[in-house]
């Protein structure tokens, strides 16, 4: 891990530990929990976009697979929650392979449209055949492992954010590894990578599977935390929301995904009175940030810090 990442990671851990201590209100923690769930999905999409150069418009589909598979297995299948969550991740991974193998063998727009279609179809399936249909179902068991059940807001806050930390640690190591270097090389020139003997397609497929698995994990956590799910949480709008998070945070930096997730999750809380206008508001945010603010919050912040440091060094 590089020094900057280590510093960021320590700050991150301290913030996560301190938030419930400093502001123990259930409301703050609940917003924090949803930020964490969204951050998991956003980290996956960020790796896919920033490092494999592909867009997915169907993360809500994997998120939905995670939520539904895990809740149904634990509710009706009698599986322990942890096992159901893992099985849901495997299910999402298999769906990702089926989508990515045909779509990623070709260059271009194919993955974007295939995932858009996938998300829409999952949404239709959940409405048609999901338990409870459009109104969804409840009584989903709380998250539990080793005989310990998480049912308090603080418990969920720590559970979800420690998973975010674990996923982040894994992802940072991944992009600093040989695979990560290969991914960045793909971004610069696919042709050169092929010439060097890297299998570009396999790498892209692997990253796509990873992003689907992260989304599935987030979906399962969402279901076991809220204990009630309905298809409306897994519509195309959620995929777009996650896309907005990643763009706003900055696609070239994984920390951007977390910052973006927090900003975009907190934003609607501040914009309560625009509730009916959500699609319009997010459409505007997404369009404007793509037009004028393309690099995202975190890369711009890093540049500012570097400049300040440069000035300080120059003065001495």
């Amino acid at each position: 891990m590089k020094k900057e990442d280590l510093i960021a990671f320590v700050i991150f851990i301290v913030l996560v530990i301190l938030l419930p201590v400093l502001s123990g209100s259930t409301y703050t923690l609940t917003v924090g929990i949803f930020s964490g769930i969204n951050a998991l999905v956003a980290i996956g999409l960020c790796i896919l976009m920033g490092y494999a150069g592909q867009v997915s418009l169907g993360q809500a589909g994997f998120y939905g697979v995670g939520a539904y598979v895990s809740s149904m297995l634990s509710l009706h299948g009698g599986f322990p929650v942890v096992i159901s969550v893992i099985l849901a991740m495997i299910a999402a991974g298999i769906a990702a392979v089926l989508l990515a193998v045909p779509a990623l063998r070709l260059k271009g727009h194919y993955l974007a449209v295939a995932t858009l279609g996938f998300g829409e179809i999952i949404y239709v399936i959940l409405n048609e055949w999901g338990p409870g249909g459009p109104s969804g179902f409840g009584d989903i068991p709380h998250f539990s492992f080793l005989g310990y059940t998480v049912d308090s807001t603080t418990g969920y806050f720590y559970l979800i954010w420690s998973l975010v930390a674990a996923v982040m640690l894994f992802s940072i190591n991944l992009i600093r590894s040989r695979t990560g270097r290969a991914l960045r090389a793909i971004h610069d020139s696919e042709l050169a990578c092929n010439a060097m003997g890297l299998n570009v397609v396999t790498l892209k497929i692997k990253v796509f599977i990873l992003s689907a698995v992260y989304a599935s994990l987030a979906g399962s956590l969402y279901a076991h935390y809220v204990t009630f799910i309905s298809p409306s949480s897994f519509s195309l709008f959620y995929s777009i929301l996650v896309l907005t998070m990643v763009i706003v945070g900055g696609i070239t930096n994984l920390w951007g995904a977390i910052i973006g997730a927090v900003v975009i999750t907190v934003l609607p809380e501040l914009l309560r009175r625009f509730e009916e206008l959500d699609v319009l508001v997010y459409g505007l945010i997404l369009t404007l940030s793509l037009m004028f603010f393309r690099r995202g919050l975190v890369p711009i912040m890093i540049e500012k810090i570097k400049k300040l440091r440069g000035l300080a060094v120059a003065k001495h």
């Binding site: 239709v124 009916e276 997010y282």
Partner: protein, 295 residues
């Protein structure tokens, strides 16, 4: 038996006609710019909802409403290109995809804000008894949809083959630099392609709304299916998009009729994946052509 089959066939042809128009819309912008405009579905919705606004809400005469709707869609296409696509200095593929997605969300937001979430409908273009073909009942509007689609296809064919603007647009698609060198205003052709694809989508929306209703969030599904149609025939080939569109429409309505209505939306995705897997160049474009393309 035959009656039921014919009934499904005609309903398939009706939706298929709209998929074909969306597919052609994709082709027009793709040929001129190598961009897949994912907001293509929203133009169909704009067509349906604006037609309702002009003809039902403002009570304008039919032809005036049609003209106004076409102008509105064209202007939105123009604004989209000038405000979001043109300012991109060195566009990469991912950015262009995201820009068109962003615009589609924005359009959907505006549509929801102005029209709300409920579905809209207006009467068929002509009133009259449905036509009876071997016992299958065919609404007059179905004939309108198919007729209008046919008219669009034929006029686009002549536009690209016989008019100087159409030929110039094709030239930009083949080689923008060379087109610029012979004096074609490439930037204007790109703008024009967005206007034209917006109008084609809106025409589809105007025609289909009396049959299948229109609401603000129908865009993405239409885009996915139109894209399937375009891929099936091979991106860039209008003939392919038409055949692809009708095939998907028919397969969908057969699935809905004979198997289960909930499965009809899944069919398009399965077709899309199968084509990508086995014949990515589509049915009417050679593999070499596909490899020569920028994206």
């Amino acid at each position: 038996m035959l009656t039921v089959f014919l009934q499904f066939l005609f309903s398939g042809l009706t939706v298929g006609a709209v998929y074909a128009l969306v597919g052609i819309g994709f082709n027009i912008t793709y040929n001129a710019t190598s961009i897949i405009n994912l907001a293509q579905g929203e133009f169909v919705v704009i067509g349906g909802l604006m037609m309702w606004f002009f003809s039902e809400s403002l009570k304008l005469p039919f032809l005036v409403s049609v003209a106004f709707t076409i102008v509105t869609a064209g202007v939105i296409g123009l604004l989209m290109e000038r405000l979001t696509i043109k300012p991109l200095k060195n566009p990469d593929l991912m950015l262009m995809i995201m820009i068109t997605v962003a615009v589609s969300i924005l359009l959907r937001g505006v549509l929801m804000f102005s029209f709300g979430k409920e579905p809209y409908v207006y009467p068929s273009f002509t009133e009259g008894e449905p036509v009876n073909v071997y016992g299958a009942i065919i609404q007059q509007q179905t004939l309108w949809v198919i007729g209008i689609t046919g008219f669009c296809i034929v006029s686009l064919f002549f536009f690209f083959k016989k008019t100087i603007v159409g030929k110039a647009m094709l030239a930009c698609a083949v080689n923008p630099t060379a087109a610029q060198l012979v004096g074609i205003n490439v930037s204007r052709m790109v703008m024009f392609s967005f206007v034209l694809s917006g109008i084609v989508g809106a025409i589809g929306g105007m025609a289909i709304t009396p049959i299948s209703l229109m609401e603000y969030d129908k865009g993405p599904m239409l885009a996915v299916k139109g894209f399937c149609a375009a891929i099936m025939g091979g991106l860039g080939s209008n003939r392919g998009a038409v055949i692809g569109g009708f095939l998907i429409g028919i397969l969908e309505s057969m699935t809905a009729g004979y198997i289960h209505s909930g499965m009809k939306d899944g069919i398009a995705l399965i077709i899309l994946l199968l084509i990508l897997f086995f014949k990515p160049a589509g049915l009417f474009v050679s593999k070499t052509m596909l490899e020569l393309r920028k994206f």
